[in-house]
Every structure is written in structure tokens, then in C-alpha cells.
């Protein structure tokens, strides 16, 4: 069907392709009939897995997805994250459960909307708005990411809006200035070079496994803090635009963040208290404290890493599934089939398989991100077997991705994720990819790679400030999300990241938020506070910022914050992927690298922590405020409250900013500066 933009205004809703996923046949029958009466083109499916494969086979075959929350084969939140990550399609959640926390979770995971059963015809009539909104925000995102400086400077109001809510004043200002600085430093090539006008529909980029893998490799090589332009150059994929990469990067960062978040113990609401406790005590580290301090102790990172790898290092474990899911993710990664799933989370799990050995190699030793260091050796990145890299499915890839993420910015992130199929729409699925990551289930390594890729819209900006260290791990591996699928916030922290990817489980409804604010998620700090919105620098801000918001929830946001951390670099915000090389985290890019991989001072404590956060944030998909997808993958449950939180846009206090609370001097990558 003609894309919304192309279709006449009055024609648009007609024929819109809707995919309904619900295991309740009665509801499915009623919904389908309603959709048919709305003159939509409705397809029903009673299984998430089947729906996912249908979507993967035909990415452009659907315009919007309506999914039930409770389903036997795959948690609706996880599906949400995956879809957001991979396909960047608007997903509407639905349930007979009207509990606010569940609804919040859905939003955090990046749901465009949440319908309470029984669904009425009037509600269905309006769902087309989500499609249009997303497309527009996607365009805007590209435009925005393309010309960050311009946008940034020229649209201060916009920025303010986006970031303000999430960051407290201090942080906000610093962040914004950082962002602006970053923008300035941003390559002018970052400007939309030939980016079609926002209004015009960009061909959707489908991030196939291979493409994602390339992306991951590039990111690994350049570091998570890199800029889309460089990634684009490195990838050297004809027809791929910087915007595509930017939004994908954004998503990826969010994903990572989310992963980190998960590891940080962001437990989904469904997590048992015990697990939550465990999570909190990741590796014996008090993430809360971490978040507060803005640093992620090496042990935490290591623990996180191990966690990701599926090792039980510390109690940090995603409640319930994560172990298994992680492994599942890992296993999945190995699947040769080009499942696109970017196993953001997978890489982590995959460690075992991962040829790169990025993670696995790293000895589970606690206290360090072994894998990361090992990573460079592995050369996962570029030089490494393209096949491995390219194997999205391979766990390796995913591992690599993670590793790369974790490793210094130079590590190749690109390796892990297969490139996502480039969809003509040109909208790199920022959010979608993130979503995919969290889902452990299907996330194949490729998927994880995706995480690293975080939505392109993210723009190199350090979006994940928090993620500094652990983020990398997390970012790529939103295993946690997987485990929890819907819970972890994963996704999205609330939606996009940290809270994003829905998958997640974070107990806190506001996953993302909690991260940010409560500091539960150290990682989340990311930037969520910053602006969870999609805007890269503040990416988290995204809610509205289209691409950024998408799932990546937040990761992006971190960048601005990071600047402070990074000390010299204005941009730091990486999602947290960057880790200071010296930093404990080792692999993850948390390092104090400025946005684009420039390592900033050695192990800046803040940065480390930020990386986690950022990734978390990124992962969380922010609710689709109407612009693009919320990064919240979460995907997603985003931990970043800001980002994903629906209220993020408006309330300055979005968790992100508030959560951070920490000193304003620190860029607050993780969003620590916000109140915790």
C-alpha cells in the first residue's frame, strides 16, 4: 500500500496493513472484523513467533502491528522490542490488563499505544495516526540527525523541549551545551547530505543481518561513540545514508544500554524480588551506588559482562529467564539463517560461540571486562572473518558486537551485527533494532549486532553517556531483555532503552524511568535524564524525536552528558558503549570517549557508569510520543524513565535528568546528574 505520506490524506488509512497478534481467537476475530470495517488490510496471527517471521519475511508488508501482551510463546513486550529494533514499525500493545504498571511497561518498551480490551472500533480507527507519526518522526529524525548542529542550534526550542524534561537544569544546560558543541564538532558531513526532505518519504532501510553485521563491525572498529558518518564510510554500503546509520546507531546504543541495564539488575516488574535483589547486587556491586556515582566499577562491568555472557558471576541476573534467554540468545545467534534478529543481547550470550571470543574470552573474571580486552585481539572487527561478522546469526557475531561495544571504541562493533537490511524507507530502524536485541529469543547474533548499531538516528553522539562501560555490553546484548522479554525494561527501558525494549521486565513500571531516576539502573542513567528522547545527543529525549526516540531510548542522550565526563570531549555521550579504555570496563565503550570514540581521559569514572546507562537508555525505547518510535526498545522497555516515559517529553524531571542527580560537573552520561 502506498506509504502514508504518499497516499492522499484522505486515502491514507484505507488499506493500511495491520498485523494483529493475539492468542485469543475470539479477540482476534473481533479485531479483524473491526479492522476490516475500518477498511484496513488486516492480517491475524495467533503466535508471536509466527508474527515475527512474517514480519521479517516481509518488512514492508505491514504498517502497524497490534499485539497482545500476554502470549504463550513470546512475551508481547519482547515482540514489541524486536519489532521496534528490526523493523521500526509502530507497535500497539493491547491487553485486558489495564494495570498502570503494565501499561507503563508497554510504553517503555516502545509501544506507540496501549489499548485495553475490549478494544473498541473508535480506538482502532485512529491507529493510522501512529503509522503516520512514526514516519514523520523518522523523517524528522533523519533530518535531525543529519544536521544535528543545525537542528541543534536552530531549534533550541526543540532541544529544550526534548532535553529539558529529562534533565535537570544543570545537567540540561551542560548537556545541551555539550550537545551543541558536539554538533559543532560533528562533521559537517553529518549534515544531511542529500537527505531527502523530511516530508518526503525516505526509502526504508532494512537492516539485514549482513548489513547490521557490517554496522557492528564498523562500530566496533570506530567505537560506539563514533559518528554515523564514519560508520557509513567504513561500511561502504552503497545506497545507505548517514541518516540510516545514525538512526540505527541510535537504536543500537539504546539496545546496548538496555542490555547494560538489564544486567544492572533492572528487573522487570515480573521479576521476583530475589532476582531484583540479585540484579542490584550485580557482582556485588551496588548499581544504585554506581549510578549515583556515575561510575561503574570494573567489577560491575565484569559482572555485567559475565552476566551477559551467561555466566553467573554475580547475582545479577535477569530474573527468570535471563540466563536461559541469554543463552538462548546466544544460541540463536549461531543460527546460520540470516535471521535478522540482531541479537543485541545475543552477542553477549553468544560469547561462547562467538568466534570473536569477545566475551567469552574474557574470563568471567569479575571485575573486568575481560572480553573486551580480548576482543581487540580477536579482531572481530573488521579484519576478522567477515563471515563471522556477517553471520548475524552467529553468536559470534553477536558476541563480537558486544565485545566490540565493550571494547574500546575501536573495537568493532560492526562485526557483530549484521547489517540490517536496508529498507527502502531509509529509516534505519533505530528502534526496531533495539527491540530485537532484547529479545533473547530470536535474537541472533545479528541482532545483537544491531544493538551496537543503535539506531542511526542516534548519531554518533555519545548518546549513551552512561553506557560507558557496561553499556557496551549491555547495549549489544539486551539479553536481559530477552530473558524478561517484556519485562526488563529492556527494551527499553521504558520503552526505548533502558527502559526500552520492552522486553523487559523491569519491575518498575517505569523501567526506563527507574533507571534514570531511581538510579536503579546505573546504566540508565544514561542519558535518559538527558533527554531520553531520541535525539542523539540527548537522544534519549526522543520521545518525540523520532529516530532517536526509538528504542534507543536513551542511549543517545547520554552523549551530551558525557561530555562532562569525558572531560574534554563535548560529545561523549556515547551510549555508554564507549568506555574509556583505561576504564575498568575495558570492552565497553564507556570509556571516556567522546562521542566518537575519542577517548577522553582515562577511565573517567563517570563515563563508565554512563555507558551503562546510556545503553540502557538506548535500549529502552521511548514510547512513541508521536514521533518516531520511542527508542525504548524497548524495545522496548526502556529503563530510561525519561525517554521512555511518556511524560518524558514534558516533564523536565524525566527520570533521566533527575535520576542523575549527581554533580552537574560530570557530564552525567548516565544521567546520574539527574536525581537518582
Amino acid at each position: 500500500m502506498a506509504p502514508p505520506e504518499e497516499a492522499g490524506g484522505g486515502e491514507f488509512p484505507v488499506g493500511m496493513k495491520v498485523l494483529v497478534v493475539d492468542d485469543d481467537p475470539t479477540c482476534l476475530a473481533v479485531l479483524k472484523q473491526m479492522l476490516v470495517q475500518c477498511r484496513y488490510d488486516a492480517t491475524t496471527c495467533s503466535q508471536s513467533t509466527r508474527a515475527l517471521s512474517m514480519l521479517r519475511e516481509n518488512r514492508r508488508g505491514f504498517d502497524v502491528i497490534i499485539s497482545d501482551v500476554h502470549m504463550p510463546d513470546m512475551d508481547g513486550f519482547r515482540l514489541l522490542e524486536l519489532v521496534g529494533l528490526e523493523m521500526d514499525l509502530p507497535v500497539i500493545m493491547m491487553s485486558a490488563d489495564s494495570r498502570t504498571d503494565i501499561v507503563m511497561k508497554g510504553i517503555k518498551h516502545g509501544a506507540c499505544d496501549y489499548l485495553i480490551k475490549p478494544v473498541r472500533m473508535e480506538e482502532l480507527k485512529n491507529i493510522w495516526q501512529h503509522v503516520v507519526r512514526k514516519k514523520f518522526s523518522g523523517n524528522k529524525e533523519h533530518e535531525h540527525s543529519g544536521s544535528l548542529d543545525d537542528t541543534d542550534r536552530n531549534r533550541p526550542a526543540n532541544n529544550d523541549n526534548e532535553y529539558a524534561s529529562s534533565i535537570n537544569d544543570g545537567a540540561d544546560d551542560s548537556w545541551k551545551s555539550q550537545k551543541k558543541k558536539r554538533d559543532k564538532e560533528e562533521d559537517d558531513s553529518e549534515l544531511e547530505s542529500g537527505d531527502p526532505s523530511n516530508s518526503s518519504k525516505k526509502p526504508r532501510v532494512v537492516w539485514s543481518v549482513e548489513l547490521h553485521q557490517q554496522f557492528v563491525n564498523a562500530v566496533n572498529h570506530l567505537g560506539i561513540d563514533t559518528v554515523p558518518k564514519k560508520i557509513l564510510e567504513l561500511m561502504n554500503v552503497p545506497g545507505l545514508t548517514r541518516e540510516n546509520v545514525a538512526s540505527h546507531l541510535q537504536k543500537f546504543r539504546l539496545y546496548l544500554k538496555r542490555i547494560a541495564q538489564h544486567h544492572a539488575g533492572i528487573t522487570n516488574p515480573y521479576c521476583t524480588p530475589a532476582s531484583s535483589a540479585q540484579v542490584a547486587s550485580l557482582g556485588g556491586l551496588d548499581f544504585q551506588a554506581l549510578a549515583a556515582s556515575g561510575q561503574i566499577p570494573p567489577q560491575a562491568l565484569a559482572a555485567l559482562q559475565d552476566e551477559l555472557l551467561g555466566r553467573t558471576t554475580t547475582s545479577m541476573v535477569l530474573p527468570g529467564r535471563d540466563q536461559s534467554s541469554l543463552r538462548l540468545a546466544a544460541v540463536k545467534g549461531n543460527k546460520p539463517q540470516g535471521e535478522r534478529e540482531i541479537a543485541f543481547g545475543q552477542p553477549i550470550f553468544k560469547c561462547q560461540n562467538n568466534s570473536y571470543g569477545a566475551f567469552p574470552q574474557s574470563s568471567p573474571t569479575v571485575g573486568r571486562l575481560p572480553s573486551f580486552s580480548a576482543w581487540p585481539n580477536n579482531k572481530l572487527g573488521m579484519a576478522d572473518s567477515t563471515s563471522t561478522l556477517g553471520n548475524v546469526n552467529n553468536s559470534q557475531n553477536s558476541n563480537i558486537v558486544l565485545h566490540e561495544l565493550q571494547q574500546q571504541p575501536d573495537t568493532m562493533l560492526s562485526g557483530t551485527l549484521h547489517a540490517l537490511d536496508v529498507k527502502p524507507s531509509g529509516i534505519a530502524m533505530p528502534s526496531q533494532s533495539l527491540n530485537t536485541f532484547p529479545a533473547s529469543e530470536g535474537l541472533s547474533p545479528n541482532q545483537s549486532g544491531f544493538l551496537t548499531t543503535i539506531p542511526p538516528s542516534m548519531k554518533p553522539e555519545p548518546a549513551l553517556p552512561n553506557s560507558q562501560q557496561s553499556n557496551n555490553l549491555l547495549g549489544g546484548i539486551d539479553l536481559i531483555n530477552q530473558a524478561s522479554t517484556s519485562q526488563p525494561f529492556s527494551n527499553s527501558h521504558g520503552g526505548n532503552l533502558p527502559g526500552l525494549m520492552n522486553h523487559n521486565s523491569n519491575v518498575m513500571p517505569s523501567q526506563g524511568i527507574s533507571n534514570f531516576q531511581t538510579g536503579n539502573i546505573p546504566y540508565l542513567v544514561n542519558n535518559s535524564s538527558i533527554g531520553v528522547g531520541s535525539k542523539p545527543p540527548g537522544v534519549l529525549k526522543t520521545e518525540s524525536t523520532d529516530s532517536l526516540n526509538q528504542s534507543f531510548g536513551y542511549i543517545c542522550g547520554s552523549s551530551p552528558m558525557d561530555s562532562g565526563l569525558l572531560s574534554s570531549q563535548p560529545r561523549n555521550a556515547q551510549f555508554g558503549f564507549l568506555q574509556s579504555p583505561n576504564d575498568v570496563t575495558g570492552g565497553w565503550s564507556l570509556q571516556n570517549v567522546d562521542n566518537y570514540r575519542n577517548t577522553i581521559g582515562p577511565s573517567h569514572p563517570v563515563s563508565s557508569s554512563s555507558s551503562f546507562q546510556s545503553s540502557n537508555v538506548a535500549l529502552g525505547k521511548l514510547p512513541d510520543q508521536g514521533r518516531g518510535k520511542n527508542l525504548g526498545f524497548v524495545g522496548k522497555g526502556t529503563c530510561i524513565p525519561n525517554r521512555f516515559a511518556v511524560d518524558e517529553v514534558e516533564s523536565p524531571t524525566n527520570s533521566l535528568s533527575h535520576s542523575i542527580g549527581s554533580s552537574g560537573d560530570i557530564p552525567d552520561i548516565f544521567g546520574f546528574s539527574g536525581q537518582m
Binding site: 475470539t26 473481533v30 472484523q33 473491526m34 480490551k117 475490549p118 478494544v119 473498541r120 472500533m121
Partner: protein
């Protein structure tokens, strides 16, 4: 045959179902979905509902036995059932679903058992009533006549 009379009867029966709380507004929404392209939509959905819900209840009963005190599991089953009931407008059944979930929340096994029994009763009752209703509708006239029952 006095179709109009039969139709009136059908309409009256339906009103009664609404008045007694067996059905709620959602049922009207479902009815509105019936059109020329799907002339028997309502009945089809209703049949589907009863079949599916019977299965769900049976699963739940087994779960009550097999997983004693596993309230989360029970609740999950019931959540699904509740969704079904609400989709079709089976109001009294939905109320029993809610009561079951409350009992789960309180950890009240006896209460759960009791709620389930009541639910089964309501299920049987509603099924019987709706079957009569549709039968009457069928008698009342061809598909066209049954499309928009007078309410």
C-alpha cells in the same frame, strides 16, 4: 410465519440479556461488525468464544489441580479468559473472572475454586441463552433480517 413477531421476540430476548447483565456494550459493538460481507459474524464469534473459553476453563481446572497454589499461573489463565469475555461482551462471565483474579491475589484457594465454578455456570447459562437467541434469529428471517436485530 410471522417473522416480525419472531424478530421482536429475538429483540426482546436480547434486551433481556442486556438487562440481566449477561451481555454488555461490547456485544453491541460486535453486532455492529456484522454486515453483508459477514452476515453471520456475531454467531460465528460467539461460537468461537464458547469453544475457546470452554477449553481455557478446562485448562484452568487442570492447572488448579496440577499446580496447587500457583496463583500466578492461575491468574495468567484467567487473564486470558477475561480478555476473551470482554471481547465479546460476556459481562457476567467477566465479573467471575475478576472475582477469580481477586482470589488469586489474596491467595485464597477456596475462593478461586468457587469462582471457577461460578464461571462455569455463567458460561453454560450464557451459552444456552445465546443459542436460543440465535436460533430465534434464524427463524425470524433470512440473513438480511437477522443482520440488525432490533434492540
Amino acid at each position: 410465519m410471522d417473522y416480525s413477531n419472531l424478530r421482536r421476540q429475538a429483540a426482546s430476548m436480547k434486551r433481556g440479556l442486556f438487562d440481566q447483565g449477561y451481555l454488555d456494550e461490547q456485544f453491541r459493538q460486535v453486532e455492529d461488525l456484522q454486515d453483508e460481507a459477514s452476515p453471520n459474524f456475531v454467531e460465528e464469534v460467539v461460537v468461537l468464544f464458547f469453544k475457546d473459553s470452554a477449553k481455557l476453563m478446562s485448562n484452568l481446572e487442570q492447572a488448579l489441580e496440577k499446580y496447587p497454589r500457583d496463583f500466578n499461573r492461575w491468574d495468567a489463565y484467567m487473564q486470558q479468559l477475561k480478555g476473551s469475555c470482554s471481547s465479546i461482551g460476556a459481562s457476567r462471565m467477566k465479573i467471575e473472572c475478576l472475582s477469580f483474579r481477586d482470589n488469586c491475589g489474596q491467595g485464597n484457594v477456596e475462593g478461586c475454586m468457587g469462582s471457577l465454578q461460578k464461571l462455569k455456570r455463567e458460561h453454560a447459562l450464557l451459552r444456552q441463552k445465546l443459542e436460543s437467541y440465535f436460533q430465534l434469529l434464524r427463524q425470524a428471517g433470512p440473513a438480511g433480517a437477522a443482520t440488525r436485530p432490533v434492540m
